[in-house]
């Protein structure tokens, strides 16, 4: 390789210039479309039947609202981990990842209780089918995020990342934010809309 290229240009993925980051952006595009179509199915049927379709006009927020807050906090903690990594504070990064993982896990567990508390089921009608399928899809994405966080934690622990090279953390964090944003759409659709209509 010539000196011209060697001096100025980084080798391998660095930050948002990395090709992997572009891969993630396109992945998020297709995943966002996936949830858009799922929600389209919900709104399409809602428009056909009107509010009579809602099995309950004021679904309980007792678990769902705190759980939403848990997920939002987890977005902040993963951001904190990123900041730590940029500064070279590995403890901060590890702590942030671990905290995010625990918050995500808590969200999943609370979701299971929430599922149990619902007065309808997957088979009771189209509303229940949509509720459990859409929240189930979201939980599957949270689970994938947890696996990613676990890997990031191990890689961070093994010292694979430094202030300059930590593209996987950028990617994992962005994916996690995306999963949180999707939840906000799901939460609005199933918990707020029946009250507002």
């Amino acid at each position: 390789m010539s000196a011209v290229v060697a001096d100025a240009v980084p080798v391998g993925g660095v930050g948002r210039r990395s090709v992997g980051w572009w891969g993630l952006v396109t992945l998020i595009a297709t995943e966002a479309a996936l949830f858009a179509y799922l929600l389209f199915a919900y709104y399409y049927i809602l428009v056909q039947f009107g509010p009579a379709w809602f099995p309950e006009r004021s679904p309980s927020l007792k678990l769902a609202l705190p759980n939403t807050i848990v997920l939002l906090i987890s977005s902040a903690t993963i951001r904190w981990a990123e900041r730590g990594m940029r500064r070279g504070a590995r403890g901060m990064a590890l702590g942030g990842i671990a905290l995010t993982f625990l918050l995500g896990l808590a969200f999943l567990i609370v979701q299971l209780f929430e599922w149990k508390a619902k007065p309808y089921s997957l088979r009771s009608g189209s509303y229940g089918s949509l509720y459990f399928t859409i929240t189930g899809f979201h939980m599957a994405h949270v689970t994938a995020g947890l696996v990613a966080l676990l890997l990031l934690f191990v890689w961070c622990l093994k010292g694979y990342f430094d202030t300059r090279r930590h593209v996987p953390l950028l990617i994992g964090a962005a994916y996690w934010h995306f999963v949180d944003v999707v939840w906000l759409a799901v939460f609005f659709t199933f918990y707020l809309l029946p009250r507002l209509w």
Binding site: P10, T26, L34, Y37, G125, S129, L151, Y160, R165
Partner: protein, 642 residues
């Protein structure tokens, strides 16, 4: 620094160092682990042609059944499976994959790169395509192939009306194939924006890549619609949900919306890359730059943007409100404008150029004719009252075959004649090529032109047989005979390729005096593609001396040798300034293991074997973790140089 201009083609000295770095080791394991885009591209092409043969045989059996009235060559149930598998095979397992084959092979060569952005993902995309294809065909082999038409309307595809595993094979197979297509599309989009040679700014990108880029961007957004539709249908069938059944508060029409939100953009996805190949081939063989290059590129994108808003024209007969019909009818008529733009640009290119009538040229020129016929019949059915008369008749069947065979298969055949010399270093026989072309062209029109009349006379599509006396008898016989001639033409194409592989004349690097970078490297290209990454200064790097491009001079011999491991350049998205030296992954079995894991998981879902699904999901996960694990040689670990 060399001062050689790009148009001076001299055999680049081969590099032993690069050869060693990029070579795939011999043996079956090396073959299974290869991530070379050229191998993957060729595999895509061969596999797609095998599926074309399968779908073609299905069509011939149907034409035997329909050749005369009141025949019983197959049973009605077999006939249902034949037309469903035929449609599914041609549209999903042939039409897009064959174009992905060309794009996979050609893109890095067109862009001056050494591989696609994600080589392992590329391999995974191919394996998943094969596995998903085998999955759906396993159902067919067991007598449980898709049997509700390729668009599989609910509620007829619900379990009450369609018990058996037929639709489940189809549903899960399509979800599986959707993963393959999506990751392939992601790879194309990122490759387009990041892997172009330095200097190849966005306005200098070869015209043919715009089609695949547009199709891929669309696929990223629309594949989830069909995956969701099939998944919800599968839940309805297997787990008692109520998405599409009215009794449980569902909506059968939801299926049609989700399917066509995907389906119509998909129709463009399987023609736009072929349109790109046609543009590229025609300008080369007419010895002049494509007329209205920018407009054609923008029209490609515009077609797809409009293509997102026309899906309801498949649903004109479902009783939707008149306002919705008017809107979608208008959009479907307007979409003719960008399509026509490409047609006029091609005609002007031929008119003002100096065409060299090769077999490839004949195929590309025939695309124009068939596109116009298919376009006009499409334009007709965009009108709601006309559609009400013609929907679900053979007129629509004729229309879609003109579009799909006319713009896809004829462009693909042209592409084979045009790029086979690059892929193999050998030319195809031109004399036999003419015979092949005319056999295909005559056979195709003999089969499908009369079919318009069959439809106008009211013959519904997908009927198992028909009584004599409707005026359909002769037309159907002609169509059946034409389909035999057409099939013979396709067989001749395969024979031409096999003969070319054995004893085609040596091609040299640039037999067509073509302008783009893939022709600057030897045929077939070395494993590393480019000895040195070229620096591009114009749209037609190899034509800079023959057409007026001012002082622009691209350079093929540069200092960008990049031989410290598998390396290529990543450049900025619009200006193509050098951004990174990319460390490219070597051969690995991870994509194949991942695919096997996924395939077994789908089998587990199909047969309700929870243990198999879970075990297979763990295999998939393990392959993914091994794949993603940071590697020092890919500069993914702290402290890697620079």
């Amino acid at each position: 620094m060399s001062t050689l201009d790009a148009h001076v083609i001299e055999p680049a000295p081969s590099s032993g160092v690069l050869e060693k770095i990029w070579a795939t080791p011999p043996g079956i394991l090396g073959w299974l682990a290869s991530v070379d885009h050229k191998s993957i591209g060729k595999r895509y092409l061969v596999t797609a042609f095998l599926f074309l043969a399968a779908g073609g045989i299905e069509a011939l059996v149907m034409r035997a059944q329909l050749a005369r009235p009141d025949q019983h060559v197959v049973t009605p149930d077999q006939y249902n499976q034949l037309f469903s598998m035929h449609g599914m095979t041609m549209i999903f397992l042939y039409a897009l994959p064959v174009l992905s084959g060309f794009s996979n092979y050609l893109w890095p060569l067109l862009f001056g790169a050494r591989d696609m952005a994600f080589p392992r993902l590329n391999a995974a995309s191919y394996w998943m395509y094969v596995a998903a294809g085998l999955f759906t065909y396993a159902g067919f082999a067991m007598g449980a192939g898709a049997n509700d038409g390729w668009f599989n309307y609910a509620p007829n595809s619900e379990r009450d009306f369609n018990p058996g595993l037929n639709i489940d094979f189809y549903a899960l197979g399509m979800i599986f194939l959707g993963v393959s297509t999506t990751v392939g599309a992601i790879n194309f989009v990122v490759t387009f924006f990041r892997m172009r040679a330095p200097g190849m700014s966005i306005e200098k990108v070869p015209i043919m890549t715009w089609g695949t880029l547009t199709a891929s961007a669309a696929n990223i957004l629309v594949i989830p619609a069909v995956s969701v539709a099939f998944f919800l249908l599968w839940l309805d069938r297997q787990y008692g949900t109520h998405f599409f059944d009215v009794a449980g508060g569902g909506q059968p029409l939801l299926w049609q919306h989700l399917f066509w939100m995907f389906g119509h953009p998909w129709v463009y996805a399987v023609v736009l890359p072929a349109i790109g190949m046609t543009s590229e081939g025609l300008q080369t063989l007419c010895r002049r730059p494509l007329v209205c290059f920018e407009a054609v590129a923008l029209a490609t994108v515009a077609t797809m943007v409009l293509g997102f808003g026309v899906w309801v024209h498949h649903m004109f007969a479902t009783g939707l409100p008149a306002l919705a019909l008017s809107f979608f009818s208008g959009a479907s008529i307007i979409i003719a404008v960008p399509s026509a733009l490409a047609v006029f640009a091609w005609i002007a290119t031929i008119w003002t150029g100096r065409p060299i009538i090769t077999t490839a040229f004949l195929y590309f020129a025939s695309v124009i004719v068939l596109f116009v016929i298919g376009g006009v019949s499409g334009f007709m059915t965009a009108s709601v009252p006309v559609d009400w008369q013609l929907t679900d008749t053979y007129f629509v069947v004729a229309h879609l075959h003109y579009v799909l065979i006319g713009i896809n298969l004829f462009a693909v055949a042209g592409g084979i004649y045009h790029w086979f010399p690059k892929m193999t270093g050998r030319l195809l026989d031109e004399r036999f090529g003419r015979w092949t072309f005319w056999t295909m062209f005559v056979g195709f029109n003999l089969a499908f032109l009369p079919m318009h009349v069959t439809g106008l006379l009211g013959m519904p599509r997908r009927v198992y047989t028909y009584a004599s006396g409707f005026g359909w008898d002769t037309l159907n016989l002609v169509t059946s005979l034409g389909s035999l001639v057409f099939a013979a033409g396709v067989l001749m194409l395969v024979i031409a390729v096999l003969r070319g592989l054995r004893n085609g004349a040596p091609a040299g690097a640039n037999p067509w005096d073509a302008p783009t970078l893939e022709w600057s490297v030897p045929s077939p290209p070395p494993t590393y593609n480019f000895l040195e990454i070229p620096i591009v200064a114009s749209r037609y790097p190899l034509w800079e001396r023959t057409i007026d491009h001012g002082a622009a001079r691209s350079r093929l011999r540069t200092e960008l040798r990049l031989e410290a491991g598998r390396e290529t350049l990543a450049t900025s998205a619009l200006d193509a300034d050098i951004d990174l030296v990319m460390k490219m992954p070597g051969d690995t079995l991870a994509p194949l293991v991942l695919t096997i894991g996924m395939a077994l998981a789908f089998v587990g879902l199909l047969l309700h074997l929870a243990w198999l699904t879970i075990a297979a999901a763990l295999v998939t996960l393990a392959a993914l973790v091994a794949w993603l694990w940071p590697q020092r040689e890919l500069a993914q670990i702290a402290g890697a140089p620079r």
